[in-house]
Subunit: 342 residues, 2 copies
């Protein structure tokens, strides 16, 4: 724990700390010889500037705070991966906070981040968050904030999300074109931005093809996997011929329930999940997927934030970036589970 400091170098070389600092910081007024000496010594003893001292001095930390509802979630961990990649390449470190889908936790967690003097905040709103005044306050105090995935129109900030409308439209259109008419729509709680957009895409596609919109085919489910099953069972009473599950865990929960009930996909119903689980590949062919570009969203959001932090973009001008989604069709006519001998 006895890391070497500028002071140590100064003492050893009989210089002042300021000279050492200058030598290391590549400053102008410095004797090349002195500089050589210092740099050499620093290297030899593996000197690393103390980031904490720097933070205190410069009132910034080169840390960006990331607040997500859950870390242990495929979508968010991939997004974090993207954030991390960009952040590190631009010299920032990342501290991750979880809101556990709770507004109170989000509040607390954001405070902690601010206390830690993060240079900026990357947030995907918790499921319980409808009021964003805590974030607005921070923005007014000039803290750069970028929202991703779960964004809010209530806040004038940069937002990066998947193109939910188009993705949902494409999914619904595909289902309609393959002959389905009673398409159940399974969504997470309704006040969340992405829910609205996906539902809008769904409705728009129905409208385009003159398929009637039936409210009974729309259901909302909480976040836990267990909550999905009863909702799906309930939907099944509406004799749907397809499911569009507008979320990762919803899609998996739906799939599991259908399997459990012995309902063949795609024979009996068709299923498209708006999802990010790479494991979805395993489920081929039952479930087609509208892929959420989690990694890209993380990367773009991090880029935006760092530009904001470094003043390469003005804080005041909000903007919305929608990352394209990709639809992967995995509906083969081949029944599931057909086996041939080795």
């Amino acid at each position: 724990m006895d890391a070497i400091t500028i002071k140590d170098i100064a003492r050893a070389l009989n210089l002042s700390t300021s000279t050492v600092s200058r030598a290391l910081r590549d400053s102008y007024e410095i004797n090349p010889e002195t500089k050589r000496l210092v740099v050499e010594y620093a290297e030899r003893f593996n000197y690393r500037p103390n980031p904490i001292a720097l933070s205190l001095k410069e009132n910034r930390s080169r840390v960006i705070g990331v607040v997500v509802p859950q870390i242990a979630n495929n979508y968010f961990s991939q997004a974090i991966n993207g954030i991390d990649a960009i952040a590190y390449s631009r010299g920032y470190q990342v501290i991750i906070f979880q809101s556990h889908e709770s507004y109170e936790r989000e509040l607390l967690t954001v405070q902690q981040a601010v206390a830690r003097k993060v240079d900026g905040l990357l947030i995907s709103l918790s499921g319980g968050t409808s009021d964003v005044s805590h974030l607005r306050d921070l923005q007014e105090r000039k803290l750069p904030i970028v929202l991703f995935d779960r964004v809010s129109k209530e806040l004038d900030s940069f937002c990066v999300t998947a193109d939910n409308f188009t993705g949902a439209f494409a999914a619904t259109e595909h289902l309609i074109q393959s002959g389905r008419r009673r398409i159940a729509h399974l969504a997470i709680p309704s006040y969340i931005s992405i829910t609205q957009e996906r539902l809008a895409g769904y409705r728009a596609a129905l409208e385009k093809y003159g398929v009637p919109y039936d409210e009974n085919l729309i259901r909302y489910s909480e976040f836990s996997q267990n909550d999905v099953e009863p909702v799906v069972n309930d939907l099944l009473n509406q004799s749907p011929d397809a499911f569009f599950a507008a979320g990762d865990r919803l899609a998996l929960g739906c799939l599991a329930t259908l399997k459990k009930r012995g309902i063949a996909i795609p024979e009996t119903v068709s299923l498209i999940g708006f999802t990010n689980t790479p494991v979805a590949d395993l489920l081929a062919p039952p479930m087609s997927t509208v892929e959420q570009p989690a990694l890209d969203i993380g990367q773009v959001a991090a880029e935006q934030l760092i530009n904001l932090i470094e003043g390469k973009q003005k804080l005041t001008q909000p903007g919305m970036i929608r990352m394209p989604t990709r639809m992967i069709v995995r509906e083969s006519s081949q029944p599931v589970g057909v086996s041939k001998p080795v």
Copy 2:
């Protein structure tokens, strides 16, 4: 960004900073009235001590560093979840670093963590790490370190892992008892601790039941999903009647390959994955699972580390905690994909 400081309070109340500090820290020699005043003011203006200043002063950060091979990995994100829960409940924050399965990155990343003055380090070794002297150095400098999951016997430290031997033994035993004799064993690179233990469990079970050990049935695969398929195909040439995939992504890759080849599970072969993907539930019944208690491992490791940090446990005494695994049998006689109408 204009957070209130002790200085501000002092100025406003016409006190010295030291008095304010004392009032807030509940120190002894302090006029109750003064204290009341200070505390009130602090609360009113929502004073929060600057953790960075504290870190600089106390040469510790109340931050623990976590180094994992990949964040976007079900196992590790769950483990991080466990770590996070314990850490926050004990007043620590968590900074996450990725080694990307590379020794060099691990080295670098650990240095960064140390520079950030983390109070302790929780590490799951990268796949590329065989030499652990960088960690030994840190230990000698009295930095508390706890290894989890991917541990090394080369380092005298606390280790927390799944009970890999017993888990692998149980899996293999189950396969043998259900009549399988040529059990392919699919593992991640061989110099990793968990690989060795799982292989040992496998061999022990074979021995117990007098099933011959055939080297041709053992294969190692790299980490990426794509690497798995050729290895599985290769194994299939050895006419196995079962697969034991000793890892999360291996199990999924194996499953995907078998599906692709149209090989029925469990009719043609049997499959047990040593895994953590909750989605495995979806794949029922084809794959039975030996569940790795990722969350528990994270929690226990974090607890150990914090005890170490806070001196509740001496640094010198290494120890090994093995968290029990749980086997979930999902081999029904019902063929996969059989469907009945709604």
